[in-house]
Symmetry: C2
Subunit: 135 residues, 2 copies
């Protein structure tokens, strides 16, 4: 499943029905993953063309691990398999949005939390600092 190159004209890119994901210089596209039932943002990760292809073919989220430099089927070791209910792409086709059902314990973060976004950034007297979110 080779992906086509983006069209030359902006209107086709933004309004057309051709899926032409734009991978960056490292061959990656950014992907935001949300829990389908609640809309909660679980994580942000990256896909290369292979990971995107596998995700589309299997209906299970695959990413590219930048730290390990390998294809990563989320949940293979944790059981937190992500069944993909919907994939969206943004206007200029350089970002993806996944709506998923999470298997196993329903979490997505390797720290043991449901979402990776568990800390708030807040202005303090000595500059911005982090606090754990209660949500």
């Amino acid at each position: 499943m080779p992906f086509s190159a983006p069209p030359a004209d902006k209107k086709s890119l933004e309004e057309g029905d051709a899926f032409t994901p734009k991978f960056d210089a490292h061959g990656l596209i950014v992907c935001v993953t949300t829990q389908a039932s609640s809309g909660e943002i679980l994580m942000l990760a990256y896909m290369n063309a292979l990971a995107l292809e596998r995700t589309l073919e299997s209906g299970v989220a695959h990413y590219w691990s930048r730290s390990r430099q390998e294809l990563w089927r989320k949940g293979d070791t944790s059981g937190q398999i992500q069944q993909v209910l919907e994939i969206r792409v943004d206007c200029d086709q350089d970002a993806l949005l996944l709506r998923v059902d999470v298997g196993g314990d329903g979490k997505a973060c390797h720290t043991g939390r449901k979402s990776c976004f568990y800390r708030k950034v807040e202005n303090g007297p000595e500059g911005p600092c982090l606090t754990l979110s209660k949500e």
Copy 2:
């Protein structure tokens, strides 16, 4: 407001209260922006240190325009100013999540839509293609 370098140990990075955003080789950090009232994902953009600093100081979302290579206070021309209610950071501090109230007509996409993620990717007989989302 210079940002500190990430700590050497992973535990401090993931569990600590020091905000040490990790900018990429281009000096950018990815940012997902959601509508605070609904949780809807509006857009995905990037910030450099200056944009992040201005956002924290002013409470209004600033990004770095990669296409124009300039600081971009969202809404300056469109009126779609984003008042930031909350900023979150993910476990390894290389992604941000903004919860905003949008001014003007309440939209975020330059195509005239509320969200940039207005198209679904669906498997078709000749491979994946795009359809307009009804939501």
